[in-house]
Amino acid sequence: MSGAAMTAGDGFGPALAAALLGADRAPAAPGAPHGTAPDLALDPDLAGNPGGALLARLAVAGARHLAGAGLTAEALTTFPPGAAREGRACPPAAAARLALLLSGGPSAEMRLREWCALAGAAGVSAPAWLLPALAPLREKAPELVHPVAGAGLDWLAQVEAGAGAPPPRAREAADWTEGTPAERRAAFAAFRGRDPEAARAALQAGFKAERAEMRQHLVEAMRAGLNDSDEPFLEACLDDRALGVRSAAQRLLARLPRSRFADRMAARVAAALVVESRKRFLLGTQHALTVALPEESPELARDGVAPRSWERDTGRRAGLLRDILAAAPLRALSAHPPRLLIELALRSDFPLSILEGLMAAMRREDDHAWARELAAVLGEAAAGRLPDVKDPKPMPGLWARAAAALPAEEWERLVQESFRTRGAEAVITLLGNAPHAFSEGFSEALIRWFSATLRATRAGRQALVKSWAIGRSSQACAPSERTAAAAAALLEDLPAESADQTEQQLRNQATGLAEVLALRLAMRREFGTGERD
C-alpha cells in the first residue's frame, strides 16, 4: 500500500491513526463527512462506548478503502516487449525433461548442464516458464546457458533492475578501475582480451596504488593474451612485496619460453642434469646421467623455487630440482632425444623428482611429442620391461598421467591396446586419468572390456569395484543405441540377488551406468538429435 493510496479521501488514514492510538487517547472523530456512516452514528449500541464507536469507524473506513482500491493506468510503467526467443521452440518432451531435472536437486546439475549443451546444439531455446530457474546455473556456466536462455534472462534482469539501468551485458565494456573486485577483474580480463598492450600499460600506470590481493588478481588476468612484450613488467613483479603477486608472475613467466626467467631456468637445468656420452668400441655409445642437485639461494627463491618444508618423501634439494625442471622450458633438454633422457632419469638416483618435473613442463607446454615419449617409456617401465629401474611401484600411476596428456584419440588407442595386453589393474589406473568424453567406438570397447573383466577373475571384479571405474565412466561414455544396449547387457550378466558385497556393489555401479546412458540417450532423442532406431 503506497502512501499515495493511504491519503486517498476515504477516511481510512485518519481512522487508522486513531485506532493505533486507541479510543482512550485519540481525539474524538470530527464530524467527518465520511468518518462514520450515519446509521452507525445513530446506533444506540455505540452511545457512550468509545471503543465500539472507533471500531465501527475503522471497519467502515477500511471496507471503503479496500473497495476503492486500485490505481489509475498512469501509475504503471509497463515493461517493453522482450526480444524474440533465440532458436526454435523447445519440443514438449525436452521441456518436460527440463522440469524433471530442475526438481532433481543438486545431484541433477550434471544432466542440467548437458541439457543446456544439447539444446544449444539443437538450436532450441529453453522454455520460458522454466527460465528463471536456470539463472543460478548461468552464473556457473554462462557459455552453456547463454545460447539457450540468454535473451530471456537478459530481458528479465533488465526489467528487474528498473528502466534506467544499463543492460547487464554492457558492464563488460565498463572501466576496469571501478566497481567491486570481481567486476574489476572481469572488466580487466575483457580489456586484456580486446587489447593486451593497452591493458598492460594501463595496469602498469596504477599498479603501485592497488592493494596486494587486487594486484595478484590483475596479474593473473594477464594470462589472456600473454605475449613476449609482457616480460619486462612480469620480471619486475618478481620483486613485488606480495607473495601472491610474485607467484602469479612466476607462473606466467614460465609460459614465455623466450623470457629471462626461462633462460635462467634453462641454465639451471643444464647445470643440474649432465648427460655424458662415451663411445665404446664395439658397444656403441654409452650414456650416463650425472645429477648435480641445486643449492638453495636467494636468486632461486626469487624465481619461486624454494624448499617445501611439508614434503616428507622427497629430499629438499631433489624437490628444488623438480621445481626447476617444472618451470624450465623443454628446449633446455633438446640436446638429446627425449627417450634417452627419460630412460636415464629412470635409472638415476632421483627418478621421481626428475619425472615429476618433466611431466609438469610437458603439461604446461602441451607438448605432444614429449607426451608420446613419456607414455611409451613409462608404459614399458610399468610393464616391468625396462631393466634396472630403481623403484617400479609408482610407474603405473606416472604412466597414466603421462598418457592423459596425449590427444584424446591417441589416448583411446593406447587404452584399447592395453585392454589386450595389460591386466585389469593397469587399465583401471589409465582410466583414472581419462578425458572428459569418449568416442563411440571406444565407449563400446570399454563396456565390452568391463564385461570381459567381470567374467574373468575375482581379482578383476574386486579391482573394478574398488576403483569405481564403471560408475565413473557413465559421464564420459558416448550415449548411443549401441553403448546403451551394451551397458544393459552388462547389467544382465550380473546376478540380481547376491549375498556377496562385491557383487552387490558391482550391480549398483552397472545399474548406474545403464541408467545414466539410457537417460542421456533419451535426452538426445527428445531434442531429435539422437539416433533413430
Binding site: G51, L54, A63, L66, A75, W129, P132, A163
Partner: protein, 455 residues
C-alpha cells in the same frame, strides 16, 4: 487418458516427493507393470522384505501402494505414473490385487451413489431443534465476549496490541472455538501474523493489515448480531463465515449448475494437521467462478479432482451464501481442454468493480478471485522500493511479491496476458496465467521460480 509429466509432478505433496518420485521412475526397477484402461499397476522392490504393490487410476488420479509411507500419492505411485508417461505400459490383464482395488473403487462409488439416492433417515425434529438452540446460545455468548474484547482492544489502541504476545490472541481464539465459532477463531488467530509480517511489495503495511483485519471482524460481528434481519442468502454467508457447518441435506437440495468448468488452478495448504486443497474453476458458458475445497487429514488421500488445464464438463452445487463462491463437485467428467483460455476475463476496472461488489455484499471478505484479460506486467512507482503490477488502459493494481513472479514476467515477455489471482484490496496473488493459448499455474509451496504448463 494420460497425464503429462508436469501434471504428475504437480500431484506430489512436496518437493522431496517430487525428487523421490523420479528416483522410482525407472522402468527397469518395476516388475510386472501393466495397464488396463486408466488403471496402471506394478511391483517395486523397496526397503521391505516383500516388493511393494502399487496401483494407480489415472482418471482420478488416485493411487494405492502397500508401502508404509504416509504421503499421498507416495513416491512409488508418482514413479509408476512417470514411467507410464515416458512410455505407455503394456496393456494386460490386471493381477488380482490391482483388479480388487479397482473394483473396490467402483463399488464404493456405487455405494455412495445408492446412499445418496436412498430416502433420508427420518430426523428427530425436536432433538434437532434443541441442539440448534444450544449451539446458537453458545455462539451468542462467544460473540458477546468477542465484542467486549474488540472494544477493549480499540480503547487501548492497536499500537499497544501489536506488542501483545501470541497467547493474548490465542486465548481469545480458543474461547471462540469453545463457543463453536471456528470461522471467527481462524480470523482472530491470523491477526498476530498480520501484525508481525515483514513489509512486502503488494501487501498492506503491517499496522494497516491488522486494522483491516480487526475492521472485518467488527463488521462480521455486527452482521452476526442481526442474522434475522438479513435475506436468507446473506444470512447463510454470515453463518458460513462464523463457521456453522452446512448440513448435507441442505447442500444436496441446492440446484445443480451445469457448465463447462475450466479448471484454472489448484492450491494446497497445510493447516493444523489438515491438508486443504482448493480447486478454482470458471464456467465457460455462465462465466461464474467456483471454489471447491476438500480437506484431508495428514496421510489420508484427498478425493480425486480434475487438474488445471482440464475442463470439468458437468455440474457443481454451490453452497448457500452470497456472493456465491464455494461449491462441490457433482456429476461430470474431466477432459483436457485446448487451447486454454480464461473464461470471464475482464479489464482491470471491471474486475475491481466486481471486487467492490463482493465487498458490498460481504464486507468481511478477505480475498476475492479476479480474472483479468489482456493485462500487461509493469512496475509501479511506490514510496518504498518498487513493486510489480499489472494493468491495462482502465487501471492497474499491484502484485504480491512471490518466488514465481520472475517466471510470470518471463513467460509474458512484456506482451498482454490473461491473469487469474486472489485480490485482497492491496495486492493480487497470481494463481494462474494464460499466455498464447497455454495455461500456466504456480506450483503451490514451491520456492523455485518456475511455472507449470498445464495445457
Amino acid at each position: 487418458m494420460t497425464l503429462t509429466v508436469e501434471q504428475i509432478l504437480e500431484l506430489a505433496p512436496d518437493a522431496p516427493s517430487r525428487k523421490a518420485g523420479q528416483g522410482q521412475a525407472k522402468a527397469a526397477s518395476w516388475s510386472g507393470p501393466g495397464r488396463d484402461g486408466t488403471l496402471i499397476w506394478g511391483e517395486i522392490k523397496g526397503s521391505g522384505a516383500a516388493p511393494y504393490r502399487t496401483v494407480c487410476d489415472l482418471a482420478g488420479p488416485a493411487s494405492k501402494c502397500t508401502c508404509p509411507s504416509r504421503k499421498f500419492p507416495c513416491k512409488h505411485a508418482l514413479g509408476l505414473m512417470l514411467v507410464n508417461a515416458a512410455a505407455p505400459l503394456p496393456a494386460g490383464e490386471p493381477p488380482d490385487w490391482a483388479a480388487a482395488w479397482g473394483k473396490g473403487r467402483e463399488t464404493r462409488a456405487a455405494r455412495a451413489e445408492t446412499r445418496a439416492a436412498e430416502p433420508p433417515k427420518p430426523v428427530d425434529e425436536r432433538a434437532q431443534a434443541r441442539r440448534q438452540q444450544a449451539r446458537a446460545a453458545r455462539v451468542s455468548d462467544a460473540l458477546d465476549e468477542l465484542d467486549l474484547w474488540l472494544r477493549d482492544l480499540m480503547r487501548r489502541g492497536l499500537a499497544a496490541a501489536r506488542s501483545e504476545p501470541y497467547a493474548f490472541w490465542d486465548r481469545m481464539a480458543g474461547r471462540l472455538v469453545d463457543g463453536q465459532a471456528p470461522g471467527l477463531a481462524r480470523r482472530v488467530r491470523a491477526l498476530p501474523g498480520l501484525a508481525a509480517a515483514a513489509p512486502a511489495a503488494g501487501a498492506p503495511r503491517p499496522e494497516a493489515a491488522l486494522a483491516l483485519g480487526i475492521g472485518r471482524l467488527g463488521l462480521l460481528l455486527r452482521a452476526a448480531r442481526r442474522l434475522d434481519a438479513l435475506s436468507p442468502e446473506a444470512a447463510a454467508g454470515v453463518r458460513a463465515a462464523i463457521g456453522y457447518p452446512v448440513a448435507a441435506e441442505e447442500l444436496a437440495a441446492r440446484p445443480d449448475r451445469a457448465d463447462d468448468w475450466a479448471v484454472l488452478a489448484q492450491t494446497l495448504e497445510e493447516e493444523g494437521g489438515l491438508t486443504a486443497r482448493t480447486v478454482w474453476l470458471a464456467g465457460r458458458r455462465g462465466g461464474a467462478v467456483a471454489q471447491v475445497i476438500d480437506f484431508g487429514a495428514a496421510g489420508s488421500p484427498l478425493p480425486p479432482a480434475p487438474l488445471p488445464g482440464q475442463d470439468f464438463t458437468g455440474a457443481l452445487g454451490f453452497y448457500p451464501g452470497e456472493p456465491a463462491l464455494r461449491a462441490v463437485f457433482r456429476e461430470g467428467r474431466a477432459a483436457p481442454s485446448s487451447p486454454a483460455s480464461l473464461p470471464g476475463g475482464t479489464g482491470v476496472a471491471a474486475a475491481l468493480e466486481g471486487f467492490a461488489e463482493a465487498l458490498a455484499r460481504a464486507p468481511w471478505t478477505e480475498r476475492w478471485p479476479l480474472r483479468l484479460a489482456g493485462v500487461r506486467f509493469g512496475r509501479l512507482a511506490a514510496d518504498e522500493g518498487t513493486a510489480y503490477g499489472v494493468g491495462d488502459a482502465t487501471g492497474c493494481l499491484s502484485l504480491r511479491a512471490g518466488p514465481q513472479l520472475p517466471a510470470l514476467l518471463t513467460v509474458s515477455a512484456g506482451r498482454p496476458v490473461d491473469l487469474f489471482g486472489l485480490y485482497d484490496g492491496t495486492g493480487l496473488v497470481p494463481l494462474a496465467m494464460v499466455a498464447e493459448g497455454h495455461l500456466y499455474t504456480l506450483p503451490a509451496g514451491d520456492p523455485r521460480p518456475i511455472l507449470a504448463r498445464a495445457a
